[in-house]
Symmetry: C2
Subunit: 325 residues, 2 copies
């Protein structure tokens, strides 16, 4: 299978690395809006300007879109679904129905297959929510995120006057996690579920008290959480906080039995050293899957809910039954 990627940020580089672990997948081309000569890449792919993307219409099997959900993907995915089979990681939950419709129309117009919102949330977390709800209709869902770096919250801190750089970790509250694991089915407020830990580098002469107050009282981002602020040097930030780890937990706690006397807890959790590299690995598995669906003339926009699990694997159905069932 020949793939291309559009966008060479963290996610694009993640796909480039992940391809090396999938012998049935070749990365043929990287499209960029920058000057192709300026890109230093880690593979033998061709680097091509996005202006020339149309010339590649019949040269690759799937295009993986590695842009952001705010402005890139709402425009790119419907546009390129007219030329290619496409995969994206669109993660603005509230706008998924609209995005789905736009991509579905484009893909059907030209008989292509697309899949949106692939990754871990949305993606693997969504799948686990869905499976668990189908199995235990009478139950409660819980999702916790972290421990992990929130790019949005880190950016929000960086915009504060006097801040040179910052990194924010979202952390599930241990006691809340344990209450769910123990089947106590607690009602949890925002503050009870997650806490926030910030590592902040100040500019010269900035007032730490003032910066701290601005952070912990910031509406939406921090005001509803217990937030801890640590002031550190730029060297410490680089040394100890340069990674992009993430993860989280999806639970369903549900009841069965003649008198609903039995409780069951389904838990799925991820502990990821690199958020973009894990997401990239999921993108490649789904690229493989939609290419199979495309070859079966199953066109239009899909989500993880529509894809038979075996389609993600490079192994045959027979081998999967023998080794993994």
């Amino acid at each position: 299978m020949k793939i291309g990627i559009l966008g060479y940020g963290n996610l694009g580089r993640g796909v480039e690395n992940a391809v090396k672990q999938n012998p049935d997948v070749d990365l043929d081309v990287i499209f960029t809006r920058r000057n192709p000569n300026d890109l230093k890449i880690n593979s033998n792919a061709k680097v091509v300007s996005t202006d020339e993307i149309e010339n590649w219409k019949d040269k690759i099997d799937v295009l993986i879109l590695c842009g952001g959900s705010a402005t890139d993907l709402p425009e790119q995915t419907p546009k390129y679904a007219k030329m290619f089979n496409v995969v994206d990681s669109f993660d603005t939950h509230a706008k998924i129905p609209e995005h789905f419709k736009n991509v579905d129309d484009s893909a059907k117009e030209t008989n292509h297959t697309a899949i949106i919102s692939v990754g871990w949330d949305p993606g693997m977390f969504s799948l686990n929510r869905m499976y668990a709800n189908a199995i235990l209709p009478n139950g409660i869902d819980y999702t916790f995120w972290g421990k992990g770096v929130s790019q949005g919250h880190s950016d929000a801190i960086r915009r504060i006057e006097g801040v040179l750089d910052a990194k924010q970790y979202t952390i599930p509250v241990e006691s809340a996690l344990n209450a769910v694991k123990n089947g106590e089915n607690p009602n949890l407020t925002t503050r009870e579920k997650h806490k926030r830990e910030c590592f902040v580098v100040l500019k010269d002469n900035a007032d730490p008290k003032k910066v701290e107050q601005e952070i912990v009282n910031m509406p939406n981002y921090f005001a509803d959480y217990d937030t801890t602020v640590h002031f550190i040097t730029i060297e410490e930030l680089k040394k100890n906080h340069s990674g992009i780890p993430h993860g989280g937990f999806v639970f369903r706690s549900g009841k069965t039995g003649a008198n609903l006397e039995n409780n069951h807890i389904i838990e799925y959790n991820l502990k990821l050293d690199s958020n973009p590299e894990f997401t990239s690995s999921v993108l490649i598995a789904y690229a493989r899957a939609i290419y199979k669906m495309y070859k079966e003339n199953n066109f239009g926009c899909k989500t993880v809910f529509d894809v038979p699990p075996a389609y993600l694997s490079a192994k045959s159905n027979e081998e999967l039954r023998k080794t993994m069932l």
Copy 2:
């Protein structure tokens, strides 16, 4: 959707209860090899002798087979796949390819849809192994079972001379679990992964020392494990050990990155108050799924790997995208 069940043991009763939580599913008939008049059931289903099962060929949409894997299912599933769409929970891992072939031939002969090996292991555990392997091709798998009751091990103890009754719990070794959770990727022997705890009621005049030695040295069942034996009264056994809890953990620990420098851990775990009731709940979701596949003329034998996740749900694709993606 109208369903029937064949066999009214723990699993059959579990299906009967679980149906009540699925408004789109009706339990119309329970087939039994016993005298139908002897069955006390908890629903309005008809109770019918298995001898008359052929008369129901066009009266139900799916037949759920609730027999055992040792002798019932190898015979029943291929036989009834010629008359009905069928679901079973066949769990003899090594014989799955052979069973699949038999059921596939039967189902295709008469244009029915069947699914085998549905439940949690095989079933949800298999699915999670498969998804995780497709996402992280470079990694290690771990499966732990328990804490839960092993029927096979409990039976083995009951066959020892001097034993009146017994219950055996399979328990994952905490330190091994933690090593996997921490990404240490340990090599684990049988003894290092699970321990076994036995609650035994002796007959009058039985020799506890002798019974204990027979248990802990029993080949295959106990000799390779650290086994603890507790002697208790029949009243204690009934009061504290009458449940059928189970559960377990599926992990994949895998590497990504240019130099495989990043580790990721995918964990799925179940904590079940009632093993048969949870299995029954999975059976019903897959009964719904294969009936949809049947209506699309997608005949033959399937496994959990072949079923698009959305087919398990009573909700529309649109609703799933809106609420769970």
